[in-house]
């Protein structure tokens, strides 16, 4: 799009709410500039997550990153899954508005 838009990836990560803090630590390690969190419910191989208690709720993280950082982030997620943790994740090509009031890179 216009010059103020910059191509990147939005990486979406769905995880049980009990792992919220742990996932934030994973994101921090990768060094993303920010993330957005949405409280979610859902269904999958672990059964219905109906939102009754924290153990039965999901959180969906949306992380805007450059294509390079996306790769690193996804490697970290695969590591995380291999340690036995269940997450569902997908990535999408997006155009990120890089104009911001801080004059720092949004992604």
């Amino acid at each position: 799009m216009s010059a103020t838009m910059c191509p990147g990836k939005s990486v979406h990560i769905i995880v049980n709410a009990t792992f919220e803090n742990e996932l934030i630590r994973v994101l921090d390690k990768v060094g993303v500039t920010g993330y957005t969190q949405l409280d979610a419910r859902g269904n999958g191989y672990s059964g219905v997550q109906g939102g009754y208690s924290e153990g039965e709720s999901n959180v969906m993280f949306i992380v805007l990153v450059t294509t390079e950082v996306a790769k690193i982030l996804i490697e970290s997620l695969i590591d995380y899954i291999k340690r036995g943790y269940p997450i569902v994740s997908y990535a999408c090509d997006v155009d990120v508005l890089i104009t911001n009031k801080y004059g720092k890179p949004t992604i």
């Binding site: 009990t18 672990s46 009754y52 208690s53 924290e54 340690r83």
Partner: protein, 328 residues
């Protein structure tokens, strides 16, 4: 007596919730409401217990704490053994489930308290202290059992077992929110001046029973929802969800009456603690500590089988058991 015990409002509201789910009503509590009420109930019961601490016999309090630790270690081991009979349940699931049954359910405890209150039966405050104590040992036993299972599995496949990071897991066992609120309120109830506490009583005591009814209405909804997924869990586990509280409750009766010399009310509450299974505090810890286990198993069992079993059958049963055993 037996039938009457089911006619206390708290239990009737639980039944109403289950009924609503059964007829597929759209009744639903707003998100967070039950969690909020749960915090209130923990705070209230903690303050109540703290107030009662002033009349407490120090020696007996120490014995109670020691017995709380013993039961918290013993019950999950019994549970694990029961689950592993004939190798039907894998070690990780067994370890995670066992931890839930060694721990306690505050909602079951409070329903039992409501039962005593309505029946006009007195009880000591030691069981409240024991409720705080029993959470942690059971969690630790569950984590250790899972670590052993992991080692065995690795040995079998010739690999090196992944190292368990114990310290964050142990920390979770001692710092989970329920324990903090309950223990904190207990201490506050004990140290605050009686005048100050009198100002708090209308909130923590007078309206308590009514709030509990609202809480159990939602518990009924949730328990029935869980119960509707029982077939995924299988017969062996469902049977465990009934047998384990019977075993635990019986042990609780014996310890309460013979070893701790509690009154009928106190021994009954201890039996309920032993019979009940955690469904708030332990599940998140097991999610982290035993990710190999199937989370839907332990949630379905403790909320869908054992909680209703205790409310409907366990409470009148263990009450009779205490009376009969005391009379021996």
């Amino acid at each position: 007596m037996e039938l009457d015990s089911l006619l206390i409002p708290a239990v009737l509201f639980f039944a109403l919730g289950a009924f609503a789910k059964f007829i597929n009503s759209d009744l639903k509590f707003p998100e967070g409401m039950t969690k909020g009420i749960g915090l209130y109930l923990l705070m209230a019961i903690g303050l109540e217990g703290g107030l009662a601490l002033s009349d407490v016999d120090f020696g007996l309090a120490v014995s109670s704490i020691i017995w709380g630790v013993i039961l918290g270690l013993l019950l999950p081991l019994i549970g694990y053994a029961l689950l592993r009979i004939r190798n039907k349940i894998n070690s990780f699931d067994a370890a995670a489930i066992a931890a839930h049954y060694g721990s306690v359910s505050a909602a079951t405890f409070l329903t039992a308290v409501a039962f005593l209150d309505v029946s006009g039966v007195e009880y000591e405050s030691y069981p409240i202290i024991m409720m705080v104590i029993m959470e942690a040992p059971a969690i630790i036993v569950g984590l250790v059992l899972a670590a052993l299972a992991r080692k065995k599995l690795a040995a079998a496949s010739g690999e090196v077992a992944p190292k368990t990071e114990w310290s964050p897991l142990f920390k979770e066992a001692f710092t989970n929110g329920s324990v903090i609120v309950l223990l904190g309120a207990l201490v506050i109830g004990a140290v605050a001046t009686p005048d100050a506490m009198a100002k708090v009583t209308p909130f923590t005591n007078d309206i308590f029973m009514g709030v509990l009814c609202l809480f159990l209405l939602d518990m009924g909804l949730e328990a029935a929802k869980k119960a509707s997924t029982l077939k995924k869990v299988g017969g062996v586990l469902v049977a465990f969800g009934v047998v384990m509280p019977l075993v635990g409750g019986t042990i609780g009766v014996v310890v309460g009456v013979s070893f701790l010399g509690f009154s009928v009310g106190g021994a009954f509450l201890l039996a309920i603690l032993c019979a009940s299974a955690s469904y708030i505090a332990v599940p998140p810890v097991m999610r982290h500590g035993v990710p190999e286990a199937n989370a839907s198993y332990y949630l379905t069992l403790s909320l869908g089988v054992t909680f209703p079993f205790n409310v409907v059958i366990g409470i009148p049963l263990f009450y009779q058991m205490v009376i009969m055993y005391s009379a021996l």
